[in-house]
């Protein structure tokens, strides 16, 4: 509860206090090769994108890509140092040089693009709204004056605060907290990335995705430190190369399909070769 507020108030304040940042030296790729490992920021608690499984291994759609990048850049998919990041600290860890690369379900927005450099997208996402099957919400108009559950600082939070101020938002930090709140009937519905909602209703009969596509279709992309063009260029070429072998569909089959089941069309989620259609 506390952490989201602190991040939101504190981080910009401190960031403003110390604006001057040292310039990036050239040869970022050479530096990674010299270190013999690439430092990649991933989520540790956001299945199915980035999480730690019951055996303590990193898993998920982002992690699958991370291992392939390490394989192609350093010749070994295990030459990765995983840094566990929080949603709100993804830009900080790049700016303070704690990681080389962020692969943490990072939605591209104009505000974020001012502080970090995004590579070509590897996934796409829109908002969805999930509600109990016996009281389905199929239109945003139904939510007027009702409580809608969202996660703090996510695209759902921002979208409803801006576009639908008539909806009362009930905000949580963790996905589990938010979904448990829906189950407990604390809100009429829950809005989140539609990809996550697909995964959740697959495990939870009794709930439906009354609205499956809402707001803009956003893209999700790797991010590097502002000005790290060497790594950025390599990533962009790599994503195009991987597209040629249909890598991201394989990734989908390996990491997302077991969770989404057959109800979801992979084309609504996967971006192949960095081309958003």
């Amino acid at each position: 509860m506390l952490k989201a507020k602190i991040f939101r108030v504190l981080v910009p304040a401190l960031a403003l206090m110390f604006l001057a940042a040292p310039a990036l030296a050239a040869g970022e790729l050479a530096k990674i090769k010299e270190a013999g490992k690439i430092r990649i920021g991933v989520f540790s608690d956001k299945p199915p994108f980035g999480y730690v499984d019951e055996n303590g291994d990193h898993r998920g759609y982002d992690v699958y890509l991370a291992r392939r990048l390490a394989q192609d850049l350093l010749g070994d998919e295990n030459k990765i140092e995983f840094v566990l990041v929080e949603a709100a600290s993804r830009m900080e860890v790049l700016e303070s040089n704690k990681v080389d690369l962020i692969l943490a379900n990072f939605t591209v927005t104009p505000e974020r693009a001012q502080r970090v450099d995004f590579a070509k997208p590897y996934m796409k996402v829109a908002l969805g709204v999930v509600s109990p099957a016996n009281a389905p919400v199929t239109d945003v108009a139904q939510l007027r004056g009702q409580k809608l559950i969202v996660n703090k600082g996510t695209t759902a939070d921002i979208y409803f605060a801006e576009k639908h101020p008539e909806v009362n938002l009930l905000k949580y930090d963790q996905n589990t907290e938010a979904f448990n709140a829906l189950r407990d009937g604390r809100g009429a519905a829950l809005a989140h990335d539609n990809t996550l909602i697909f995964a959740w209703i697959n495990e939870n009969p009794g709930f439906v995705s009354g609205i499956s596509f809402l707001g803009n279709l956003d893209s999700i992309a790797p991010a590097v430190k502002k000005g790290n063009t060497e790594l950025l260029d390599w990533l962009n070429e790599e994503i195009v190369r991987l597209g040629q072998e249909n890598f991201f569909h394989k990734n989908y089959d390996a990491t997302l399909k077991p969770i989404y089941g057959d109800t979801v069309d992979p084309e609504t989620v996967v971006v192949e070769g960095g081309v958003l259609e």
Binding site: K3, I6, L10, V11, L14, F18, A20, A21, P22, S44, D45, K46, P47, Y51, V52, D53, E54, N55, G56, V83, L84, V85, E86, S89, E92, V93, E95, S96, N97, K98, Q174, N175, T176, E177, F179, N180, R183, A199, W200, E203, I259
Partner: protein, 225 residues
């Protein structure tokens, strides 16, 4: 239903992972507490000297550190130092550094309080029976000061242990964060997972802090006479 909910501890290495998280918690708090005790005594004694410059410096340090939230200190030492001055410290080092800075300030104030709370006649009586200053310190002042110090030190120790979850902020997976990871993975299918995992974490913190608290009670009783 209870059985299926409790399965969360039996899946894979979940229980071992929680213990590894506990180890991180204990590592950070034990090192920080020890360093804080030692440095706190030094700074605390500085605050009781007659040299105004030393006292002012110690005072300034205490006020600065004690009234800045831990999260701000963690942020500055982990992110800001690296971003602006290129000093890239490892997360665990930052955790120990920040907790020691904070613990030292708290400890120093406890030491100062204990040392100055002894009535002046204790020292004067010592002189009257012909003890030297160092003998007075050793046999009269320090034994009494230590007794007054114990409850505060124990309180500080348990507070430091319970404040370690803040290190999630600098990406260190301590006990609470590992619990969260487990809950987020198991919670998709297992509605009660969050309840049992957090209940277990509650129990672990209690199991760690309660003996420390009892030890303090034991010492106080022992020294009563």
């Amino acid at each position: 239903m209870l059985d299926s909910a409790l399965n969360v501890f039996r899946q894979g290495r979940n229980l071992a992972r929680l213990m590894e998280g506990l180890w991180v918690t204990l590592e950070i708090s034990a090192v920080s507490v020890l360093l804080s005790m030692l440095l706190g005594i030094v700074v605390g004694l500085l605050m009781t000297t007659r040299k105004p410059l030393w006292r002012a410096a110690a005072r300034l340090y205490l006020e600065l550190v004690r009234f800045v939230p831990i999260l701000v200190l963690l942020y500055i030492f982990y992110y800001t130092l690296s971003r602006n001055w290129g000093i890239n410290l490892e997360a665990k080092i930052v955790a120990v550094l920040v907790f020691t800075l904070w613990g030292t300030a708290e400890m120093a104030d406890l030491v100062r309080g204990a040392a100055t709370s002894l009535p002046a006649h204790q020292r004067e009586s010592g002189r009257a029976i012909g003890l030297t200053e160092s003998q007075i310190n050793r046999y009269v002042i320090i034994p009494q000061a230590v007794r007054r110090l114990i409850p505060g030190v124990i309180n500080l120790t348990t507070r430091m242990i319970k404040t370690t979850p803040f290190v999630f902020f600098i990406n260190v997976p301590e006990l609470t964060k590992v619990g969260q990871q487990i809950v987020e993975v198991a919670g998709m299918k297992n509605y009660m997972a969050s309840f049992w995992v957090y209940a277990f974490i509650f129990f672990i913190y209690f199991a760690v802090c309660y003996p420390i608290s009892r030890f303090s009670g034991f010492l106080e009783k022992k020294w009563e006479n």
